[in-house]
Amino acid sequence: MRYDLGTAFLETLVFTMELKPASLPPGFGQTRGSEHEVWLSADKLRVIKATHAGEFGRKFGPDRFATLEEYLERIRLLNEEFAVRWQIEGVCGEGRSRRLITSQPAYHGKPPTLAEIRQFMLERGFEFHRTRFGDAWFRKEDRMLVSDAEPKNAVMTENGIMPFDFIIARPASSLLKAADIMRP
């Protein structure tokens, strides 16, 4: 499904069946990362991820914490770019307790090396940038920016790297200029 994620549309999604209510199933909190609490699904084929209460992951730039709108856009772009099959299960809680519950295939493997990630990104046309907001990969053709491309956020499987938790966005020109990725 492709759509422009405007705020009003998102609010509609949250309060209609598109982002249906979800509960935290048994097993919740097996491991805690900087953005999510993660556990294995009952059939042991998918990884369930819950954002921390009142948070929707991180983003590249000075603000660091993403909005719900930005998080949903990240899911859409990560699927579009790397086909990782990240899907939305629902929302849990309200206000500062709200969490977004999502799931992804449980990829068997190990963390890739930085060199393997570098090769993976170069093959897809990204250029590396060391910026004041951290390391990032940018592709000028479609203005796609990937950050947090670290070994902890990808799995090296028998079929290659699955980047399940890279942060991806199409940032505004102002942010690209602030990061010195795009010159004024």
Binding site: R32, E81, A83, P105, A106, Y107, P111, R139, P151, G160
Partner: protein
Amino acid sequence: MSAGLASIEEKRAADRQRVAEYLESQRPFTDAEWAAQLRLFEAVGCDTTSALPFWKRWFSRWN
């Protein structure tokens, strides 16, 4: 579509195929495999934020 964008779309299509092939032969994790994989990722993750107390995590929003 420019040559650059066409090349990007080819890569995306290849990735969709690659993931689909992985999922065709995907098998469930055993509890031992899952525990081992978590340990591997925790070892490289050295998570920087989640280990902090909640008030430091909140404080970091404004700093």
